[in-house]
Amino acid sequence: MDIFLQQLINGLTAGSVYAVVALGYTMVYGIIQLINFAHGEVVMIGAMVAFSVIMALAGAQPGLPPVVIVLAGVAAAVPVCMAVGYLLERLAYRPLRHAPRLAPLITAIGMSIVLQHLALLIWSRDPIAFPQIIPLQVFEIGGAAITGVQIAIMLVSVVMMAGLSAMIYRTRLGAAMRATAENPHVASLMGVDIDRVIAVTFLIGAALAAVAGVMVGTYYGIAHYTMGATLGLKAFSAAVLGGIGNMAGAMLGGLLLGVVEALGAGYVGELTDLCHASFLSDALVERCARDGHLILFGSNYQDVFAFLVLILVLVFRPSGLLGERVADRA
């Protein structure tokens, strides 16, 4: 098996999900300069709602094709997440739009805690396992394996990102969103209802989050009320990596983060195998002769790689890979 290719495939799968979630962070930031820390919880709610529906359907109608069951889950998750996203903006962030920036930021963190505990109340502490309805389909490419679910995740992500880009760069609403991101006052002078554009931005981000939630849940086979925290943090890092506020940056950052993380997980064991340096001590030689390996860091250190790359990029390019240099903005 080709580890490199395999980890590349795994990384691109996870990365597509990060990219879709990162878009939600970056779009909101681009328009109101708010880091919506509750966005990860919207993803979690999407997964929980979809899994409840999928569980119920798989139990009641075992004959239904798995695609129909999953799509029903998505169809339930999208409107619920959109409602949550809309309410977040309307009730929590809009009243603070002219407050100092720290106030909405702290509110966002608060909302993320509120949503997490709301999910705890509704779905309890127990994780929901994805029912075994999708037959495992494995395809071989160049010595690596790719599953049907992985292909579906990548395809859906690409389609959603292409659709979003077309919306932003080809439609009147998209132009209004870009204009508002640049200068809301002038946009309003053109006839753009700023409140509406901001609400629409949250709705779009939440719809993407819902689908991302279903994808990530299906991929790992589990949904849990805390899953939004890590996922949200990684997607937010991806947005920062690409340059927060920049849509192409969020997509690039997401994919890159996924790939780095997967490659890191694939190679960290071998790279930190002390037996490569067994000449250092006789005890090591003995140990390695017996076990073959003495691995310092296992693949559970994969998160370290993702954040290491983030830190490195930010040291050399503080505004992210595709972000404008800060001086240009001032």
């Binding site: 009147r172 132009a175 209004a176 870009r178 204009a179 640049e182 200068n183 006052h185 002038v186 946009a187 309003s188 002078l189 053109m190 006839g191 753009v192 209802d193 700023i194």
Partner: protein, 238 residues
């Protein structure tokens, strides 16, 4: 010609505790070109922002076409024909020239007429036509001002408020901008023009207002203001 298109009475605007506009009366009749001049910090920009809804007045009345617009948000006023070319132009630097112009027509839905107007703007400013696919941020200051005026024209305004269109431009470009302002006026657009270049502004205007620290100190025919010794001394550099 004698209908008041815009009428502000005892208009007051403050920023927190600072009173920037302290109760001014101002009117613009249909078809007029009115100049509003005054030193830096007199409150001209603040007045225009209040008139188009970007700032909420702390007191007074504003009537546009006979109706109070005190509580009308700016994005609705454009649709009613009241447009502002803001100080510093407010070009969307990341949108193309053509997208900027399209944003000007955002409040309209008559696609065919919008296309005709676009060609008219390009005819008025051939330079913009050459650069239609370029992003707004790459234009020179003068070109950006042309774009800002062209964009406002795209909304088919009845009343256009212009905030220092000649600011920071070379003399030749100032000339060109003033010619454009006159051309727009000739098409039947009523204009309220804020300018540092008091002489040029008064020369093309019917009437003028002079503002000083938040108050209107003089209001008269433009010709009379041009001959007013006080104005000549303070604003025409004599």
């Amino acid at each position: 010609m004698n209908v008041n298109l815009l009428e502000a009475k005892n208009l007051k605007v403050s920023y927190g505790g600072i009173n920037a506009v302290k109760g001014i009366d101002l009117e613009v009749k249909e078809g007029e070109l009115v100049a509003l001049i005054g030193a830096n910090g007199a409150g001209k920009t603040t007045t225009l922002k209040a008139l188009c809804g970007l700032l909420h007045p702390s007191g007074g009345q504003i009537h546009y076409r006979g109706e109070s617009i005190l509580h009308t948000p700016p994005h609705r006023l454009v649709g009613q024909g009241l447009a502002l070319v803001p100080e510093g132009r407010g070009i969307f630097g990341r949108l193309t020239v053509e997208e900027n112009l399209a944003m000007g027509a955002y409040s309209r839905d008559d696609a065919a007429a919008i296309r005709t107007d676009l060609e008219r703007v390009y005819h008025l400013f051939p330079r913009l036509a050459e650069r239609r696919r370029q992003s707004g941020g790459t234009l020179s200051g003068g070109e950006q001002q042309m774009l800002a005026i062209g964009r406002a024209v795209m909304s088919r305004p009845k009343l256009l408020l212009l905030d220092e269109p000649s600011m920071g431009l070379a003399p030749l470009m100032v000339q060109k901008i003033f010619e454009t302002v006159l051309a727009v006026a000739k098409e039947g657009v009523t204009l309220l023009l804020v300018e540092q270049n008091a002489k040029l502004a008064l020369e093309i205007s019917h009437r003028g207002y002079v503002m000083e620290s938040g108050l209107v100190t003089l209001a008269d025919e433009a010709k009379a203001l041009l001959n007013n010794p006080q104005v000549r001394k303070a604003y025409l550099g004599e």
